[in-house]
Amino acid sequence: MVNKKIKLFLILSSLIFIFFTFYLGLNKNNYYTTENIVYKKIENFESYEFFSNKKISFKNISPDKKYIILNIWSSWCLPCRKEHKNLIKLRENIKVDLIGLNYKDKFENAKSFLSELGNPYDIILKDKNGLISIEIGAYGVPETYLINNINKKIIKKYLGPINEENVKEIQSLAKQ
């Protein structure tokens, strides 16, 4: 009889445990993002400058700057179009270099995109087959990264278009 009660107790308590785990699980966001995977070092890579097609190494970019901002964009991506005015605003208010990474794009389309909406970038690099974006840990366009230019580690990620609040946040983070 005692044995039976212990059994009952064990079963009921494990059920309660499962119940609460599920309950907590319900309140979790189940859309996966990599936003929290930060403080990883970006290994050096080589790319070509957008206009001049000159070879550039990532490690030689803006050598005098403590931070850089890297923005992945493409002329065929609609959210990029929406985001662009915020990038321009960001560049106006910040002393940090803004690096564009032109993702899987056609040169002509990208050029007319910039002449139409303005060019906020200090340097634009080309990512012809998307491999540089993978090296950085991106999975879509647009994405924006605040990077410590001394140790090449990612400080903050913004997946999707940045808004005005993000602009302010980047400004305050890059001041430190």
Partner: protein, 624 residues
């Protein structure tokens, strides 16, 4: 107007559910042999109102009444008539109404079926079933009312996702739900039998056909979903170990175990507690399936519109039922020690236990694989994927012993069988299996030693099941189902080993070589149908024997909602399926073309249908 009526009748049903529970509880002590007329009448009325309510939703869908929010969200005037009907259960709210309909209908049929049974047992079953019905009614009314209004009335609906506009998927939910809901009746009646202290051969005989019925529908329901995934998703596979698929497989394993155990209870009056545990577990798993799918807790291909309050409701209700069941079980169950006797190692009883052992193992693999990521995330905040490799690694090694047990199991006699000293036929069967497996492997590119043993074991099972047809001690339904199962396994294995796929980007006019075949992309043409435009590709596949196959896969662009889908073109014959699907890439000129050669595909479907057919024969036999 119609929506009002539907909504009110649901409220009536709720009142009836309360009435039935109260009245039945009052009448339980009554010694009368005749089932109380009053309760029978209310159950009939309840059934009527649920059917009425369901019809209201049906009419709203067919007449495209967009003042109803469910219709607005899921239908469109241009949608074909057939899919207007299937739209009723192609969404969260409507599918729950269908679920409710089956719950009430099954209870009604149960009452009709058990004319000569003990009143107390019937009334208790009614009470438990009505508790479930009540739970679902409240769930529908509080969180998912299909009759909610929208004002001002929109002129046009949002349409049904075209990927769901498909004949197999249109009938998949009703079939699957009958399977799921059938287990509710097993749950209710097993608890009733526990309280009534009648968990015995007679009860087993009576509930057996419900077990088989649920199992048949669940089997067919899973198959329909799988067929749909095979040709509609265009990935060429038929099982992806997606959480939503797993969720339907879990009650299937449990029900299959129950299917065998119930026979031991019937013939030998043994394994009482275990039968009850399985009955409760089967329904709990069906319910957890609903919870996992509808609450949005899982990340899956198939998602319903999610709402956390729904998740909380089903979760609470599910655990309420499990608690209720466990407490009933602990208070009323007989002490196992007194009634149980041991089984002889060489007996059908033991064979059934071994079957259960494997079923429970496969169940645990699928269950743990499905819910483990949820647990891990809650406790460590880390997200992992548990995909096909996990299930394959944990299940495949266990298949070999399972096949060997299953080869012998059906022929073992009840109580006590004797082992023959040397069984020559068995040796011949064994050697033939090895030879066939060897022949298969010398002709394939797969060179794992393990796979060859797996194939050998499954051929051994096929040959033995074939041999069982000549055995007099095995009943025909069982012969058919076991043989079909062995064919199913063999076709899945051979299909897995011999499938070949070609995946490449092509332009019109391209010609590419793939192993010994040539694939030609001859052209595309445009066409327009009622509710979609289409792009039809013209492909030709020439094999080494100069045989040509023509394929016309389609890319459809639906009007409402604007979504494009790829329709595979599949050429099926007895030995293999040839499959081409193509999708448009960004540049409008280049297409991704996927050609697949899938041997024995048709046998997977045929064997599942035969498996279910075996079950149907059993129901007919037991129904007499």
């Amino acid at each position: 107007m119609i929506s009002h009526l539907g909504s009110y009748s649901l409220i009536f049903c709720t009142i009836f559910a309360f009435l039935i529970i109260l009245q039945s509880a009052k009448l339980i002590g009554n010694q009368s042999k005749i089932f109380p007329k009053k309760i029978y009448t209310i159950i009939t009325l309840q059934l009527f109102f649920v059917i009425f309510s369901f019809s209201c939703l049906l009419i709203a869908f067919v007449s495209s009444d967009f003042s109803n929010i469910t219709v607005y969200n899921n239908s469109h005037t241009e949608k074909p008539f057939f899919y207007k009907i299937s739209g009723v259960w192609g969404n969260h709210e409507g599918s729950l109404l269908l679920w409710l309909l089956v719950l009430v209908l099954f209870l009604f049929l149960f009452i009709l079926d058990t004319k000569n049974y003990d009143n107390k047992y019937k009334l208790l079953t009614v009470i438990f079933q009505e508790i479930i019905i009540l739970g679902f009614l409240l769930f529908i009314i509080i969180t998912s009312n299909p009759f909610d209004y929208i004002f001002p009335v929109p002129l046009e609906g949002l349409g049904l996702n075209p990927i769901l506009q498909d004949p197999a998927l249109a009938i998949h939910p009703p079939i699957l739900y009958i399977g799921y809901v059938g287990t509710s009746l097993i749950f209710s009646s097993s608890l009733a039998a526990v309280i009534n202290n009648t968990v015995n051969s007679e009860w087993a005989k009576q509930i057996k056909k419900w077990v088989f019925l649920s199992w048949i529908f669940l089997t067919l329901g899973i198959m329909l979903g799988s067929i749909w995934a095979y040709y509609e998703l265009g990935w060429g596979g038929f099982w992806f170990w997606d959480p939503v698929e797993n969720v339907s497989l879990m009650p299937w394993f449990c029900l299959t175990a129950l299917l065998h155990t119930i026979l031991v209870l019937e013939k030998r009056n043994a394994l009482k507690n275990w039968t009850i545990v399985l009955s409760i577990a089967t329904f709990s798993l069906s319910m957890s399936g609903t919870f996992l799918v509808r609450s949005g807790i899982l990340n899956s291909i198939h998602t319903f519109a999610n709402d956390p309050s729904r998740g909380v409701f089903i979760l609470t209700f599910l655990f309420f039922l499990i608690f209720l069941a466990i407490i009933v079980l602990f208070i009323y169950s007989e002490n196992d020690k007194k009634t149980s006797n041991n089984f002889n190692i060489l007996s059908k009883e033991t064979a059934v236990l071994v079957n259960n052992w494997f079923m429970m193992y496969f169940l645990s693999v699928v269950l743990i694989g499905t819910i483990y990521p949820i647990f891990l995330e809650v406790f460590t905040n880390e997200k992992i994927s548990v995909g096909p490799p996990f299930y394959q690694k944990l299940m495949i090694p266990f298949l070999i012993p399972f096949f060997i047990f299953m080869s012998f199991g059906p022929r073992v006699k009840w109580i006590n069988d004797k082992l023959k000293k040397i069984n020559y036929t068995q040796i011949i069967v064994f050697i033939s299996s090895l030879i066939i497996a060897y022949i298969i492997f010398t002709n394939s590119s797969v060179s794992y030693l393990f796979s060859s043993f797996l194939i050998a074991a499954s051929i051994f099972l096929v040959l033995n099941s074939l041999r069982d047809f000549f055995s007099k001690s095995i009943q025909i339904p069982q012969k058919i189902s076991h043989f079909s199962f062995s064919i199913l396994i063999l076709s899945i294995l051979l299909n897995g080993i011999y499938s070949e796929e070609f995946n490449s980007n092509m332009k019109v006019g391209d010609e590419l070589k793939f192993i010994d075949k040539t694939i030609k992309f001859k052209g595309i043409n445009f066409d327009e149908k009622d509710n979609y435009k289409l792009l039809r590709g013209d492909f030709e596949v020439i094999d080494s024997g100069k045989n040509t196959l023509n394929f016309n896969p389609e890319i459809r662009i639906y009007n409402q909602p604007v979504i494009s889908t790829s329709e595979a073109d599949i050429k099926t014959n007895l030995f293999n399926d040839n499959f081409i699907v193509f999708t448009l890439l960004k540049d409008n000129e280049i297409f991704n073309v996927r050609y697949q050669h899938k041997p024995f595909m048709i046998w997977i479907w045929i064997s599942i249908i035969m498996l279910a057919f075996g079950g149907t024969l059993a129901v007919i036999k037991y129904g007499k």
